[in-house]
Amino acid sequence: MTRTSRRAFLAALARAGLGAATLASLPRWARAAAAAGAPAAAPAPPPSGADFIVRNDRPEHLETTLEALGRSWITRNDRFFVRSHLSVPSLAAADWRLALTGLVTTPLTLTLAELKALPQITAVHTLECAGNGRGLFQLPSTSGTQWERGAVGNAEWVGVRLSTLLARADAAAEAKHVWFEAADLAPVPGVPPFLRSIPIEKAKDDVLLAHTMNGEPLSERHGFPLRAIVPGWFGMASTKWLTGVRVENQPSDNHFMVRGYRYAYPGEDPATAPPVETLRVKSVITGPVDGSIVVVPRRTAKNKRPLLRVQGFAWAGPAGVRLVEISTDGGRAWRPAGFMGDTAPGAWRAWATEIEVTPPARVSVMARATANDGETQPPEARPNAGGYGNNSMHKVTVSVRAI
């Protein structure tokens, strides 16, 4: 929370005449501030600066700028997008336990040390918020944070395979779904807890329970001490602040399963609409930046073909991405870009290409990705009421000048 909005919050509370009973249910920093009669330092303020767009500061919704995303295949922890639904819990590693319960022969309770003593897996996976691109949908109403393109990132995770724990607990034959229970709660009791469940087939496949992100223990905002990582699925499946894994014979009926995260089109009931699950095939252009001026070397006898370099990332659901193509004529002709750098299952791929230009010129570049299952990005994804899964093609327009 920024200093300004913290002050505004406290001033508003004072205006509203909230009493001691109300203050008792406030976050710790607010209680301390109220007691001291002055704004106190909030714990871990949102990182600010050029790498983040603060879409919301409480709860934190931080979007990475495309410039920052474009700097590396692995997204650094201090510029990895943040999307928290409720208040971030402060969990002490020593007191924390993971309970595995439900349709199992042997329920488990594990400390963090016990989890780390199990066989460890290291894997690079891309996370994308289901609402990434919501703010670009042309709809009169889309409820939620108005993300543009940077609610996505790629990190190296270390943890235990969920399948390892399910095997130890001996999940029953009638087990069909795994519910992820977490420690985050809203400031008022009427708000449902955030809970997502996934099918047992996915849970037994490649899901990780991760404690380490890019070589560091998870930070509080990224789910300390343990979070799920569900490769190829939109980010909300990768529950943070995990405290329980519950094996059930049906999906959860939690609000964030039944009402939220559904592909409902305007006028449709979310409860009967398809759920938002696997990532949609998508590419993003990280350079050049839309609206920028790009300077290229002047055309000379030696340099006959001034080139504009275009680069970005592409990703897809479990099928993985197969191809990225570029168009400079509004989508009539397409030619392939080249993949480069590292590759890992469930991780995005860096791509790049060069376009011949004749400066001075205004150049528009579009990118489209195709997945191994044949799915290709649409020019315009059909806007759904929740603003989910916007994988419309990305187009940037730049001015190219010569020096």
């Binding site: 205006r15 919301n56 001015s399």
Partner: protein, 107 residues
């Protein structure tokens, strides 16, 4: 040879192809009838930014308020209408319904 490809990229303030009308989220609720209600009923759980970045029609705000009241936002009947009008007037639809692009049907 690589150096010959691109010399520099200079970020420019102005955007070329402007997306739909964007309103930067405000850190405080703007003045007006309903401000005090919003501060009392909404600040408890979330920053004003969550609301002030939205663009919703009357039905959209009605749904949001209904949801929040069900979850415990302390808003009474008369306040409900004041608050809906306040939010709609300041954070109304970004595009008119007619301009909403039908787009490509999703699979």
């Amino acid at each position: 040879m690589l150096a010959a490809l691109v010399a520099a990229t200079v970020a420019l303030g102005a955007k070329a192809a402007a997306p739909p009308k964007r309103v930067a989220p405000a850190a405080t609720y703007p003045a007006g009838p309903g401000q005090a209600i919003a501060e009392r009923a909404c600040l408890f759980c979330h920053s004003p930014m969550l609301a002030t970045q939205q663009a919703k029609d009357s039905t959209g705000w009605e749904k949001t308020l209904g949801q929040m009241e069900k979850w415990g936002a302390p808003v009474n009947g008369a306040e409900h209408d004041t608050l809906r009008q306040y939010l709609l007037a300041r954070f109304g639809p970004r595009v008119p319904p007619a301009a909403a692009a039908p787009g490509t049907p999703a699979k």
